[in-house]
């Protein structure tokens, strides 16, 4: 019975190829958008997750001013001091803290001259930002205490300056300061958000302060929070301490910003969220229009086939069997549209993920969900025409011209 109805439905569809394909078009677009949307969403999520783990997990960033700022940009809010660092180090669940003074300087070795980010910090920087030492050693207490001219090279900076040559023990010029290379960092990989984390020269904080920029400011602080700690609580505490230390009146706005990697991830995803919302709206409207299109065509079909329905009733079909036949027809049309849509959606997301440079992720659940949605639309929008067919009176229907 059901198999017969499916065959009948396929026959109807094949006999009117133009009408059938136009009927399915809405479903095709809708399902394709849903599949592409979910796939791109998952790709973006994977991307952001990877990004966060590259930046460092459980990371809290503190910097002056009320918004994010680029390295080297000047904020009119006062910078931090060493006393702030010491105060924040005492906050529970702060595993380690890296104060940073950062600037951009020409860096020269031999005849190679590049301008890159020069970051002054403590040896905690490597741990907090999850950099691994590739060769050489990290900073020692004496490097910091003596503001010694030593440096670690980021992977890219090392490539730029030394190529295949071993940089350990060599002297480079950072601005006007001659500086010995004591170690190199392993690559963190290209960051999608435009943050190149492999182009940097890392020096002791004191060296940068005293011998490169010539002040004692701390431009930003990176805090590593314990794995199982509540980072929101830590951030609240950091905020309270800094407000007190910077003598901010109750009710006045902060002149500094405390963020964790989750918030930064949210900023990264906001762009793709807009795209997702747009695609989602297209998908919803297309599915709705697709469903209405199917309903419309089936209503016409019921009228056209009134005599057939009457005849089938005369031959013993009950109302429920007529209902089933038209419901199946509706579901078959929407499932066919859904299958084509799935195919197009998968191909579309493959192209788009290449273009957006995010991983291409298509999960079987997504495809099953799309298939389910198509079936559900077939049932929902098939009910009205099917009921119209089932309610026909056999004599009236047989007499219909």
């Amino acid at each position: 019975m059901i198999r017969q109805s499916i065959w009948m439905a396929l026959r109807e569809i094949l006999l009117n190829p133009l009408r059938s394909s136009l009927t399915m078009l809405g479903m095709v677009i809708g399902v394709a958008s849903v599949v592409a949307l979910v796939s791109l969403g998952q790709g973006t999520t994977a991307q952001v997750t990877a990004e966060i783990s590259r930046m460092g997990r459980n990371l809290v960033m503190v910097f002056p001013g009320s918004g994010p700022r680029r390295a080297g940009a000047v904020s009119d809010a006062p910078p931090f001091e060493m006393a702030d660092v010491q105060a924040l180090e005492r906050v529970p669940d702060v595993v380690s803290l890296a104060p940073v003074s950062s600037t951009s300087r020409p860096v020269i070795y031999g005849n190679r001259n590049i301008t890159t980010q020069v970051t002054g910090s403590s040896d905690a920087f490597l741990q907090v930002r999850e950099y691994a030492l590739d060769s050489g050693r990290g900073f020692e207490e004496s490097d910091l205490a003596g503001a010694r001219p030593v440096c670690l090279l980021g992977y890219q900076t090392r490539q730029d300056l030394f190529g295949d040559q071993d940089p350990l023990g060599e002297t480079i010029r950072v601005g006007r300061l001659a500086c010995e290379v004591i170690g190199t960092l392993a690559s963190k990989g290209q960051s999608q958000s435009g943050m190149d984390q492999d182009s940097l020269v890392l020096m002791p904080l004191t060296t940068v302060q005293r011998r490169v920029v010539g002040n004692t400011w701390i431009g930003s602080m990176f805090l590593k929070v314990a794995e199982d700690a509540d980072s929101a609580r830590v951030m609240d505490e950091v905020q309270a301490i800094l407000r007190e230390r910077r003598r901010i009146q109750a009710g006045a706005e902060d002149n500094f910003t405390v963020r964790d990697t989750r918030e930064i991830a949210a900023a990264f995803t906001s762009a793709s969220t807009a795209l997702t919302a747009l695609l989602g709206a297209i998908a919803a409207v297309s599915l709705l229009v697709g469903g209405i299109g199917i309903m419309n065509i089936l209503l016409v079909s019921v009228t056209e086939r009134t005599r057939e329905i009457g005849l089938r009733m005369a031959l013993g079909a009950r109302a429920r069997e007529v209902l089933l036949q038209f419901l199946i027809e509706s579901v078959v049309i929407s499932l066919l549209g859904g299958l084509i849509g799935i195919l197009l959606g998968v191909l579309g997301s493959l192209a788009a993920s290449g273009w957006m440079q995010i991983p291409w992720i298509v999960r079987p659940e997504t495809l099953m969900m799309a298939f389910g949605v198509a079936a559900a639309i077939g049932v929902v929008f098939g009910i009205l025409p099917a009921r119209k067919a089932a309610r026909l009176e056999p004599i009236e229907a047989l007499r219909h011209e």
């Binding site: 019975m1 006999l15 005849l311 089938r312 031959l315 013993g316 009950r318 069997e321 004599i395």
Partner: protein, 236 residues
């Protein structure tokens, strides 16, 4: 009627269409008995009530008043689904306009009633083929209706009516769309089915020539039986 349970027994069967001033009495208290194996012709002009009678006999409609016993069972007050179940099991229809499904082959057309009876596919196919062969259409089973002549189409329709092995065959102007040679062909088939297989046949017609094939002729006018007589000049 020799004590046999009649296939059809009507007691003051009435059908009224519409209500109040617009009400039309299509069938006005008709009482009738048809014993098994009879070939009955129902005659009358259009509007005489013969089509209404046919619809009621074939369970396509339900009466406003009166009783209908089908094979001894009171079927006057069945709902639409119950009527469909009786229809699919006991009644075969042959219509004036053939009413074949245009997109299905002859074989598939004959299979349709068996689909609703949930007959498994291989048996369905076998029975449909048998029915078509019995009507001389063994070489036309793959043809769609438009590739068949009118007489062939009506024979496919008869095969479709017979394939459920009905106890009652209702033929509503079966020769109305056919020339006289094809008409005789169809009437010979119906007559033959009645004689050889003992199927009760009710033929509705307005053509006296066709009615002469039956053994009994009932004439209707204004929803009532005008005459009910044995046909002594039966066409052989």
């Amino acid at each position: 009627m020799s004590g046999e349970t009649p296939v059809i027994r009507l007691d003051r069967l009435t059908k009224i269409y519409g209500q109040g001033d617009a009400a039309v009495v299509a069938l006005d208290g008709v009482s009738l008995e048809v014993p098994p194996g009879q070939f009955l012709a129902v005659m009358g002009h259009s509007g005489s009530g013969k089509s209404t009678l046919m619809n009621l006999l074939g369970f396509l409609d339900s009466p406003t008043d009166g009783k209908y016993w089908f094979q001894g069972v009171d079927v006057s007050t069945l709902d639409a689904d119950q009527r469909a179940l009786i229809r699919r099991q006991f009644v075969g229809f042959v219509f004036q306009g053939f009413h074949l499904l245009p997109r299905l082959s002859a074989l598939e057309n004959v299979e349709v009633p068996l689909i609703y009876q949930r007959v498994p596919a291989p048996e369905r196919r076998r029975r449909a083929l048998e029915a078509l062969e019995a009507l001389g259409l063994g070489d036309r089973v793959r043809h769609v209706p438009t590739k068949l002549s009118g007489g062939q189409q009506q024979r496919v329709a008869i095969a479709r009516a017979l394939v459920v092995r009905p106890s009652l065959l209702l033929a509503d102007e079966p020769t109305g769309n056919l020339d006289s040679a094809r008409s005789i062909e169809i009437m010979e088939i119906l007559s033959d089915l009645n004689r050889r297989q003992g199927i009760t046949v009710v033929l509705v017609t307005h053509e006296p020539d066709m009615a002469l094939w039956a053994e009994r002729i009932v004439e209707f006018r204004d929803g009532r039986i005008l005459s009910d007589r044995r046909n002594d000049r039966r066409t052989a």
